[in-house]
Symmetry: C2
Subunit: 191 residues, 2 copies
DNA sequence: TTTGGCATGTAATCCGTTACATGATTAG
DNA sequence: CTAATCATGTAACGGATTACATGCCAAA
């Protein structure tokens, strides 16, 4: 069994766009794909080392950076491995929803406590939606100016943002419904 | 920092409904809350032992089962701990969406590969939606027959199912849009 | 009697985060 | 000069899964 399967493909995947260092990868995770993926330095650097050992990536050619920066590129072998992974069936995602667990086992709690939780959930998703809408606008803007070559990546990127938006909107709608139901419960409680 | 051991509260929470054994808890996870929570024997039994050590739960009174079954109940201390956790702020959920990663880094792949992935995603979410709709129907049915005391738990349970439905529907809608966009890409490719 | 479900538990191991440790370079 | 940012890396730890190990009971 391959170690750190998911992190491996994040690194491999991001390197497919061009030469990058561990630091670059971390930055891209934080600034761009943070809404659907997180990764720490603690896995990025070991993975880079491991992938180099397997000859899936290699140090980028060109002048060394004075700062000790070490960029990598995909090897042909690495590109093949990435393509293979892209075609592999999706693993079922692990689901652990703390809010739903609280609702499910919160039968003894007052409605107030749960209302507060659902409200937080709504707020977070609203903030998230705003964030994604901005990202979407930026991509659409970029699509107008870029040449056709990069168009495909932008299209894919747009898709990732739009799933986020759809899901966030769904959660917000649910939260509004749920708050109505919980308010009713509270009204009954206080009688 | 002390990260929240989530498994503890699953166990504590499920025990708040009444005496249960480790096996019961596993069954309930599998059959009822599987859509938003998973848990293995490998954590359930150690957690039970740990909680007993902390006096948050205690062996259920009553006749021993011949089969070696060991049921537990919440202590008063346990009930307090649960209530405290219910009111605690939600931790940000860890997001790792394999499909979106594949889309994001799949710029070099043929549209076909991605179409297959998105299609699988749609199918899974459709199956999921069917499952949840059945669960919803059952709860609504139960609400008509149950007495008012258990009504609150049923209401909360219904809310958990409905969030699942909302999100699944959103994903399906997205997938349909995405498939249209990807089909267009494929058409361009083949020219 | 043998299969399947009930029932508990442990060991190996994985995947990943957090916190720590270190140092160079650049902007103010 | 000094703070922020760039940049790499390691050690400790932790939470959870998987696979394994064990055995009882009921029904076919």
């Amino acid at each position: 069994m391959a170690r750190r399967p998911k992190s491996r493909f994040l690194v491999l995947g991001l390197l497919s766009e061009g030469p990058k260092s561990g630091y670059d990868i971390k930055t891209e995770v934080e600034e761009v794909i943070n809404h659907f993926w997180k990764e720490s330095f603690g896995s990025i650097y070991p993975v880079l080392e491991q992938l180099e050992g397997e000859e899936l990536i290699a140090p980028a050619p060109g002048p060394e950076d004075g700062r000790g920066r070490r960029a990598y590129v995909l090897t042909r072998k690495g590109r093949t491995a990435l393509a293979r992974w892209l075609a592999e069936p999706l693993e079922p995602d692990i689901v652990r929803n703390e809010l739903l667990l609280k609702l499910y086992v919160g039968g003894d709690a007052s409605a107030d406590v749960l209302i507060r939780q659902v409200d937080t959930y709504r707020e977070r998703n609203e903030a998230f939606l705003t964030l994604l809408s901005n990202a979407e606008r930026e991509i659409v803007q970029a699509q107008k100016t870029e040449v056709a070559v990069s168009d495909r990546r932008l299209t894919y990127r747009l898709l990732t943002v739009r799933l986020g938006k759809r899901v966030a909107s769904a959660r917000i709608k649910w939260a509004n419904d749920a708050l109505l139901a919980l308010d009713e419960m509270r009204a009954i409680e206080s009688v």
